[in-house]
């Protein structure tokens, strides 16, 4: 039990400025959980790591860290997420961050081609997560919850990714989706993706837009809009297509494509891709090859 004056305060950091791009969750592909970070490969085992840190004034021993995966979606809920496994870590006051390894192998499903969302939660006595926890993971509200919707996308030519847009539980809602291209990532985040010595593209060559229709975009397709309003009935889901056209980044360069979901000015979630060409420099040994959709 926590004392009246002292308490633990365990954090799994959110991303900055986009909370759904946490730097404290990463993946080690392959059968060696101690291997270098990298991108998950569909159908191949991978291990999920999380980093916890105690900002309080009481040690938190045996902090339970649960990790989850979900289909590429903006807002992840416990209902639709899949529990991978559990690990424990000691978060000591002044002890700095503590890496926590979940040893249950995660097998990214083939249909998502390795592009899946990850969530990590830390549970400990005195934490802010209610019991039972709410359906939405809601990382901005809880210090001990973080989400990583960031994967590497290898682009050869025009392609698309299907994203899931989930509605609100009890009311129809209109969501505003926006696409941003060209942000930069810090070295730690890039390293966590297994990307080494890559730099932001000098010239933006990748174009990104949103569509509701299905089918592969052609290089000469009219550019899809970067803003889209989508109505989703209560409790339902809709598919949204992120179309990527233009030309891949040059060797050693990347471009970030980020899609964000808003509802009445509130950010509900987002997904980002680090788009690289077919010959990115990587630190991981498990090279992945994204299937071209076009």
């Amino acid at each position: 039990m926590q004392g009246a004056d002292v308490s633990a305060q365990v954090e799994i950091r959110d991303g900055t400025p986009h909370w759904y791009l946490s730097p404290d969750i990463w993946v080690v592909p392959g059968s060696d959980p101690d291997g270098p970070p990298g991108s998950p490969v569909a159908g191949q085992p991978a291990f999920v790591w999380a980093r916890i840190e105690n900002h309080g004034d009481q040690d938190a021993l045996g902090v339970r860290v649960d990790v989850w995966w979900a289909d590429p979606t903006f807002q992840v809920t416990r209902t639709h997420a899949h529990h991978i496994g559990t690990a424990f870590g000691d978060a000591l006051v002044g002890g700095g961050p503590q890496d926590v390894l979940c040893l249950v192998p995660w097998l990214p499903v083939v249909v998502n081609d390795g592009h899946e969302c990850l969530v990590a939660t830390a549970t400990y006595p005195g934490g802010s997560l209610p019991t039972p926890p709410p359906d939405a993971f809601d990382p901005p509200t809880y210090l001990e919850v973080a989400q990583k919707n960031l994967t590497v996308l290898t682009m050869a030519r025009a392609m698309f990714r299907v994203l899931t847009l989930a509605g609100l539980p009890r009311t129809d809602a209109v969501f505003a989706l926006t696409v941003e291209v060209g942000e930069t990532l810090d070295e730690r985040t890039l390293a966590g993706l297994g990307l080494a010595r890559v730099r932001p593209a000098k010239e933006p060559t990748v174009r990104a837009g949103l569509r509701l229709e299905t089918g592969c975009p052609a290089p000469d397709d009219p550019e899809a809009p970067q803003k889209l309003e989508v109505r989703v009935p209560a409790g339902r889901q809709r598919a949204v297509q992120l179309a990527l056209t233009g030309t891949p980044p040059a060797d050693g360069e990347y471009q970030v494509v980020r899609v964000e979901q808003r509802h009445e000015d509130a950010v509900l979630g987002g997904i980002a891709f680090v788009v690289v060409g077919t010959s990115p420099r990587r630190t991981d040994t498990s090279q992945r090859t994204d299937k071209e959709d076009a």
Partner: protein, 493 residues
């Protein structure tokens, strides 16, 4: 900072918490829902480590649910090995090799993560077919007939009634190995790429023997165990112990130890160098392209004397191996005498002669190896059962880590302590007085010290979990006196 210089040199092993015995070769079996994950942690540096914490971080099977706990040691001496364990629920464990990670931290060092493997099997009993199965990833062993020498009438509470607690000394079995999948070539994959197939038969035997003990101690039902079954009993009977008139019941630990020692007969009969499966496979190598779909071993043995811990007893064995392939069957039969190689020399146990009711009852014990040197450090999993004057048992771990009442690490003296002040409360609740004579019974099992990466057929030759020291003596002679002999006694005044 450098990583904390602590290592886990050997595979973590399973301890059944009711009986406190290590399961054969340290293998976890999900027929026993509640098991302890135990491991030895060695300070690999030449300096003492201070403020050491060790916790279990994760297990690579969501069906294995450990209880979070951080073990703390003010000091771990240079080169010393400490043993720690975590409770875990294995009810929904999946058979196979699973990773387990630990994190150790000491002052002045960064945390160190240590990843090891544990082995998990799944034993079940089919009452309709009257057969046991033990499943691992590499195949399933089906034992359809387990013959055993059962306990004598004298074994049980008050020495009057027969209990299902055993011990049962195996004297034969009929088994079939179903490899997953059918294989070409001479040898099948070893279970977990490590122990001989016979170890699975021993797991079945020990589980069949102790489920009743565990169920009785935990209130029965299926809350703690997933199987129930029996042996086919043959003559003569095992005379194990006539409990003291004042004893309330036979300790679950003593019953578990008795079963552990008894089932060791199967290990001995089936040989550690190469078991009947391996030898049968070598003698019946199939032609190229032929697949082996099943292997049967029928074995019977006679024990001129009862099996006992650390003793080079013999077993006169006859076994027949039958290989079933896509091209027919082939058999290989052997008649031979095997000898227990898990032997030990004299056991020394030291205790304080007299204590007050709030003092520490410490125990120091050592076991010699056949060459006269002592087992040391992580060689053994050692524990002592302390019987209070009123008959209640307390079990304590003994370690050779140089901490507490152990004067020096790795010198072969295993020490532990029972704080009588704490035991006093338990005794009072049981209506017993701590004053009087306490009996101290010492037990030790050897530990599989195979290093990770060892070639499977080499690793298979090292089998842990055999008792090398025991206060309990099994005998087939009912005229002999009570064979549960205390190693030492303490007067509490």
């Amino acid at each position: 900072m450098a990583a904390t210089p602590i290592d886990v040199p050997y595979r973590p092993f399973a301890i059944e918490p009711v009986t406190r015995i290590m399961l054969p070769d340290g293998i976890f079996d999900n027929a026993l829902f509640h098991l302890r994950i135990a491991a030895h942690f060695t300070n690999t540096s030449g300096a003492d480590l201070t403020n050491v914490t060790i916790y279990l971080e994760s297990v690579g099977d969501p069906g294995i649910v450990p209880v979070a706990r951080t073990h703390t040691f003010p000091t771990v001496l240079a080169g010393a090995t400490v043993m720690v364990a975590w409770d875990a629920d294995f009810e929904h464990a999946t058979p196979g090799k699973r990773l387990v990670s630990f994190v150790a931290r000491a002052d002045g060092f960064d945390p160190r993560r240590i990843i090891q493997q544990i082995f998990v099997s799944q034993t079940r009993y089919d009452p309709v077919a009257d057969q046991y199965t033990c499943e691992v990833e590499e195949g399933t062993l089906v034992v359809s007939s387990f013959r055993a020498i059962g306990p004598a009438q004298e074994w049980g509470p008050e020495g009057k009634c027969r209990t299902p607690d055993g011990p049962f000394v195996p004297t034969g079995f009929t088994s079939e190995w179903h490899p997953h999948p059918a294989y070409a070539g001479t040898h099948a994959d070893l279970p977990f790429s490590d122990p001989w197939w016979k170890v699975l038969a021993v797991i079945i035997a020990i589980i069949a023997a102790i489920v009743a003990v565990v169920a009785a101690a935990t209130g029965g039902g299926t809350a703690s165990v997933g199987v129930a079954g029996t042996f086919e009993e043959t003559d003569p009977s095992v005379t194990c112990c006539v409990p003291d008139p004042g004893g309330s019941s036979v300790s679950a630990t003593v019953a578990g130890v008795a079963s552990g020692i008894a089932t060791g007969a199967l290990i001995v009969a089936a040989s550690d160098d190469a078991d009947p499966w391996w030898r049968g496979q070598e003698a019946t190598a199939p032609a190229p392209g032929v697949l082996t779909t099943g292997e049967k071993v029928e074995a019977t043995w006679k024990l001129p004397v009862a099996p006992n811990a650390g003793v080079a007893y013999t077993a006169d064995v006859e076994w027949t191996y039958t290989r079933t392939t896509t091209a027919g069957t082939a058999t290989h039969s052997v008649s031979e005498t095997q000898t227990n190689i898990h032997v030990a020399g004299p056991v020394t146990v030291e205790v304080p002669p007299t204590l007050g009711v709030f003092d520490d009852l410490w125990v120091r014990a050592s076991v010699e190896q056949p060459d006269g040197t002592r087992f040391t450090g992580p060689d053994l999993y050692a524990f002592a059962a302390l019987r209070a004057p009123g008959g209640l048992y307390f079990v304590i771990d003994l370690t050779d880590d140089g901490l507490g009442f152990d004067p020096k690490p790795d010198d072969g003296v295993y020490a532990g302590v029972l704080r009588l002040e704490e035991a006093y409360k338990i005794l009072l609740r049981a209506g017993q007085d701590p004053r009087g004579r306490w009996d101290v019974f010492f037990f030790a099992q050897d530990v599989d010290q195979t290093r990770p990466g060892t070639k499977p057929e080499i690793a298979a030759q090292e089998i842990g979990g055999m008792f090398v020291a025991s206060a309990l003596t099994l005998t087939f002679d009912p005229t002999l006196p009570c064979p549960l002999q205390a190693h030492a006694t303490v007067q509490v005044v």
